[in-house]
């Protein structure tokens, strides 16, 4: 706990402070970029890109060794991984355009084949004399133990670049995510925008290799975005909340794993993000489970109240227990099911409104489609007093109006 707190406040040494800041930056960039692929419903494309980095890493290592270097320069490995991930994204796009295979099959095929080929290359690297200490396996699950200052700076620069692109392309990316056809009619190049979004994903994937590793980087792109979606219905807020959640997961995860050095950083970061997701799923006010259940119960109550009042007014017997309970709770009926005075007045109003609704539905056929004419909204909320008078006039003497 003490270790965790000191790591949290960047007090437990140069390296873990560096890792925490790097992971937070990565999380912010990933949350923002991930939002757009999530809204475009192409979240798993990022999985293909992430797994496809492996052959690029190995090839970059082999090239650098062949050119006489030691092959472990992070910038070189990142460049290699970016190239092979880009090739994978182009291939996914090509398969979907040129053949009749659906996108998910294209993603899965490219992902597994690139990764399999990467494994082949990895065994080649391990058989090279220079390869034995290469530690390329660390890119599978990330390894922050030996993070260097210039590596953190590389992550920061790439993260800032991703943020800038996100800021510049915010509007076209939003439009394309929600309605690509409309975006096309307003003159936005849909394909180029999609490519830019994928470019962002690529940047995040590549900078995430060092921190969370290629198997789990996809979680940094997807989980914060999905979690943020529960809190709001506005894109700008989803982007902000997702970035915030990504940043918090990165920072907290890195601090936690600094306190327990044997634990891999990437896994902890992902699990922190997942707990944020669970909290959002359950508690978010806009679309969370608790809020939905609450809304559903309230709606159910209103339906039962309305139906119960109408049944009372028509002298129909009520058998439904929930209806009886709701009516009793409002004080409209007594324990033995007989209407109280207050109940009599309300049921008459309910009957009158039901009759008004019937006329209203005949008069405004198009309105009944909007769902507001379900009788659950008070008629005074939907129509002006003038309109209600007109409804009553059409009703004529059919009912006695009790006000």
């Amino acid at each position: 706990m003490e270790n965790f707190l000191s790591a949290l406040f960047l007090q437990s040494g140069y390296n873990s402070a560096l890792v925490a800041i790097g992971a937070a930056l990565l999380g912010i960039a990933a949350g923002g970029a991930g939002t757009f692929i999530f809204l475009r419903k192409r979240a798993l494309v990022s999985d293909a890109a992430a797994h496809a980095t492996l052959p690029g890493i190995c090839l970059a290592f082999m090239t650098m060794v062949a050119l006489g270097g030691d092959g472990r320069s992070l910038a070189g490995l990142m460049a290699g991984s970016a190239i092979s991930a880009a090739a994978a994204l182009v291939l996914v796009d090509w398969i979907v355009r040129e053949t009749r295979l659906p996108e998910d099959a294209a993603i899965g095929a490219v992902l597994s084949v690139f990764f399999g080929f990467g494994i082949v290359l990895m065994t080649v690297v391990q058989n090279m004399t220079a390869g034995r200490q290469a530690g390329l396996e660390s890119f599978l699950l990330g390894s922050t133990a030996g993070m260097l200052f210039n590596e953190a700076v590389t992550i920061a620069i790439a993260g800032a670049a991703a943020g800038a692109v996100l800021f510049l392309l915010y509007r076209p990316m939003t439009l394309v995510a929600f309605d690509p056809e409309f975006a096309a009619t307003t003159g936005i190049p849909v394909r180029a925008t999609d490519l830019a979004t994928m470019g962002l994903v690529l940047v995040v994937t590549v900078i995430g290799l060092k921190v969370v590793g290629l198997v789990l980087i996809v979680a940094m792109l997807i989980i914060p975005a999905v979690a943020a979606r529960f809190w709001t219905e506005r894109v700008d807020r989803v982007v902000l909340i997702a970035s915030l959640m990504g940043g918090v997961s990165g920072y907290l995860g890195a601090a936690l794993s600094a306190a327990h050095p044997q634990v891999p950083t990437g896994a902890v970061i992902v699990l922190v993000a997942f707990s944020l997701f669970v909290v959002s799923l359950l508690l978010a006010p806009a679309r969370g489970v608790v809020a939905s259940v609450f809304r559903h119960l309230r709606f159910q109550r209103r339906v039962h109240l309305r139906q119960g009042l109408l049944a009372l007014a028509r002298d129909e017997p009520i058998f439904d227990r929930l209806t009886l309970k709701v009516l009793r709770g409002e004080g409209y009926i007594r324990g033995d099911g007989v209407a109280t005075l207050q109940g009599r007045a309300t049921e008459a109003n309910a009957l009158r409104d039901e009759a008004r609704w019937e006329v209203a539905r005949e008069m405004h056929l198009e309105g009944s489609l909007s769902g507001r004419f379900d009788g659950l909204n008070a008629i005074e909320d939907v129509f002006t007093p003038d309109e209600i008078r007109e409804l009553d006039r059409q009703l004529g003497g059919r009912i006695a109006v009790v006000s």
Partner: protein, 308 residues
């Protein structure tokens, strides 16, 4: 040649073929149902299942691990479905959330628990160790008829054969129901076919195939074999029966060719060591898919255009 081949290469090849075909068969239906990535998700969540089974039993014996992995796979599928429904999230994103979180959980458990004494690590889970499944008791082709030698075969052969029989049995028994509910769920329901149950059984079958194959060859082959052979076969024909046949052929061919290329080709090229067979099998299946994409007689989409 004979003795060495039977001892060192016959069983890995056989295991590769069995695993590839067992995954490719249900993969055909997953592909048509737009659930191809379920295989990807399942092969990731197998890891926590195995680790939890190990923590419970304290051994690395096969059956508890397979049960643990199957339970984890089923748990993941139920969780994905729940998040999809409750959270109104699309399938891909729900899958991405669940399998990454469960995989991270597996990694964490693995690192926190004391598994140093046993052979259990993430790399092994990812790409298996096909090359090590050798049959030392054999002394030539004659051993195939020798009961004592056969009983010394790696147990994966028997397990995978059993799973393959199970998978083909399921497809054979429910062929009509699977076909109808895959292409037209509404029609299937109107015929009284319990389409949702069939869908769930298909996923369970997939999980069993994935877990059995994973035990022998690692998760990377599993994902490749779920998708690549059926996808290649889809580009060859319009008939479902033919597609299944083609996918079996492609899966078998990938396994044989991949193993040979990994085991022998580097030696022909003058290198000293062979490369990963699992990776090579996946690579070969990718090349087959590549050829099918360029040359397959039914590769084009006809009718409605793709959504933007």
């Amino acid at each position: 040649m004979g003795q060495e081949f039977v001892q060192l290469s016959l069983t890995p090849m056989l295991i590769g073929i069995l695993a590839a075909v067992a995954c490719a068969l249900p993969g055909n239906f997953l592909l048509l149902r737009r659930q191809a990535l379920i295989g990807d998700a399942i092969s990731h969540v197998v890891l926590p299942g195995i680790v939890v089974a190990f923590l419970f039993t304290g051994t690395v014996s096969a059956w508890p691990m397979m049960i643990g992995a199957s339970l984890a796979a089923i748990f993941a599928v139920v969780l994905i479905e729940a998040i999809k429904r409750v959270g109104r999230v699309d399938a891909g994103a729900a899958m991405g959330v669940v399998f990454t979180a469960m995989f991270a959980d597996g990694v964490l458990l693995l690192e926190l628990s004391d598994t140093s004494s046993v052979h259990l690590d993430v790399e092994h889970a990812l790409y298996g160790n096909l090359e090590s499944l050798i049959w030392l008791a054999a002394d030539g082709w004659g051993s195939l008829a020798d009961w004592t030698a056969l009983s010394e075969m790696p147990p994966q052969v028997g397990r995978l054969a059993l799973v393959l029989a199970l998978v083909s049995g399921f497809l054979f028994a429910f062929w009509k129901e699977l076909t109808i509910s895959t292409f037209d769920e509404g029609f299937a329901l109107s015929l009284g076919i319990r389409a949702r149950l069939i869908g769930f059984l298909l996923v369970v079958t997939t999980a069993v195939a994935a877990v059995a194959a994973f035990d022998a060859v690692g998760s990377i082959i599993v994902i490749a074999m779920f998708i690549c052979p059926p996808a290649s076969a889809r580009l060859m024909t319009n008939g479902l029966g033919h597609q299944v046949a083609w996918s079996t052929l492609f899966a078998g061919a990938s396994a044989i060719l991949g193993y040979v290329l990994a085991g022998y080709a580097p030696l022909w090229l003058g290198a000293e060591n062979s490369v990963s067979a699992a990776g090579m099998i996946a690579t070969v299946s990718g090349f087959i898919l590549g050829f099918a994409c360029v040359l397959g007689p039914k590769r084009k989409r006809i009718g409605a255009a793709r959504e933007v």
